[in-house]
Point group: C2
Chain length 357, copies 2
Amino acid sequence: MTPPARRPTSADVAALAGVSRATVSMVLNGRVEGTVAAATQQRVLDAAEQLGYTRSALAISLKQQHTRTIGLITDEIATSPFAGRMARAASMTAAQRDYLVITVDLSLRDHSVADAARLLAERQVDGLIYATMGRVRVPVPQIPPGLPLVLLNCELDSAAGEEQLPTVVPDDYHGARRATRRLLDVGHERIVMLSGDDRSLAVLEREAGFRDELAEAGMSARILAAGWQMDDGYRTSRSLLAEDQPPTGLFCIRDRVAAGAIHAAACEGLEVPHDLSVIGFDDEDFFAEKLTPPLTTMALPHEQMGQRAMSLLLERLEPTGDRAQGSAGEPEAFPRERFLIDCPLVERESVGRPPLD
Amino acid sequence: MTPPARRPTSADVAALAGVSRATVSMVLNGRVEGTVAAATQQRVLDAAEQLGYTRSALAISLKQQHTRTIGLITDEIATSPFAGRMARAASMTAAQRDYLVITVDLSLRDHSVADAARLLAERQVDGLIYATMGRVRVPVPQIPPGLPLVLLNCELDSAAGEEQLPTVVPDDYHGARRATRRLLDVGHERIVMLSGDDRSLAVLEREAGFRDELAEAGMSARILAAGWQMDDGYRTSRSLLAEDQPPTGLFCIRDRVAAGAIHAAACEGLEVPHDLSVIGFDDEDFFAEKLTPPLTTMALPHEQMGQRAMSLLLERLEPTGDRAQGSAGEPEAFPRERFLIDCPLVERESVGRPPLD
């Protein structure tokens, strides 16, 4: 086999030897530790020789001395019911480019982002993603210099000043506008939002979207600080439905709150959507579609968010674009932008026309 | 400061330098890579010299060349709503002994247990835990030789023959007996179990517990294969409650099925527990206690399970017991036992006396 005209890469060695790039890296760095079969090691060494690939070629660019490992720092993702899809999508995107993701969860006692970053840096990760379960603002993470970082579902707080980092967040604002529009479109005029009882970014943006969409329709917004759980939705809905002119449409901050609202309606002898329309937010796995009736809701785009965050990071580590190739493999400037990912409407069975008075 | 009489350990160096043992290991192995501040490196080197701690002392026992990293292989834990407490408890137990847990999730495309174990071994973990989301049987995992492994929430299938591994699982059987006993104790005589629609270990053991407890009370068992989701519990309960002599007590395979049953009761104009008692299984976070009424249920002991699995592994890696010390640090034989962890009753408000006929 004739070596390719361009300088051979570890990918060429991997392809010829029929192994992963991680294995090539392990073998050529002598880090096999009994985990790579002798025959495989020989195949890698043969392939490297045949292609003229040497470790000194590797050493030309320090940037190529990757471990092909990405560190994922989470606040609770790995241990919470809500945002696992983000972590999974990020890991799958990494796996497609032969990277492994290792995770450190901050819900563990005594860990700060800085600690977790140091622990991961000690294990020689090539880059970091810091992901939060809920959409929140965070202080500038203290991480070892030179380690690229992408924020996922969180944003730097305003105290960060000029500091910026690439950030991937859901477009809660337009999601809330679309949910409200869905209720308006079928004729609801008494719409109430059951919101969260905090001032998180998700609450602020979803309330703003609700308010603005109603304002555009010439209506004023009624927003109740219910809370985030099923029993919060239940309690608030029971008292709402006992009013003289109860609402005919509820926009809930979250699917779990919507579940409480649907249960409250049943306890009042009301049917959803015949007597009351309910729309949620999240499209939580194994939840929204398992309610009775199945819940119409706005999907949090966790998969797209996880994919985007990982793609941004990998593109920084190993540029594939034209521009990058044009500058001889030098990575293009790390985009320090904020990427808003769309929250699509998931149509199911909990929204209908308002009942006739 | 006088060096201690016994041979100094990395823990002594860490204590004197005011850093973690991981940091000591990094510095003394030259793996600092710009992640440990120069002043800290100097402090570690000073402390090592002062105590007479040398790398050649370390080299006396290969066993002590730990990376203080444990690999956690999961099928879906990191990305599923259900068993995150296990992973968190395992990580916390590890952190208490200054170990870091790194996770590989098998729900990623193309990963087998063997692949994940190899990837983790390449990153020089000291030991492995293989944890499954649900309680299942698994084939003997193919892992690199010499790497200790503990099974968490899964057991080797019978084809494994003589092969055995330390295994930590919940005691579903006695949990189900206790749930059934709870309904019997307040006088229920028409009790139905809404079970899962598969033959998983959880289903088999919970059904056996239900059957045996009723048999001991001289009653026969009625078990319906409802399914595992809220809408499964809803559908099955709607038809049950429409019977001439509907059950007064339901034992549900899972909290989510119980939630469907409670909603079905409300749609039939029945109140829980006044007209119908419902008991679940799992004590799912942010779920069982957020239902209306709050659900009486059997807790899956995920925290205890995660702790126990990690303790077993760490005890193998760094024995703390008398016996271990007696044999000069040599680890005692790795216990190849099956540890059954208790499922306690969590009393809330969904169980009461049966209604008068």
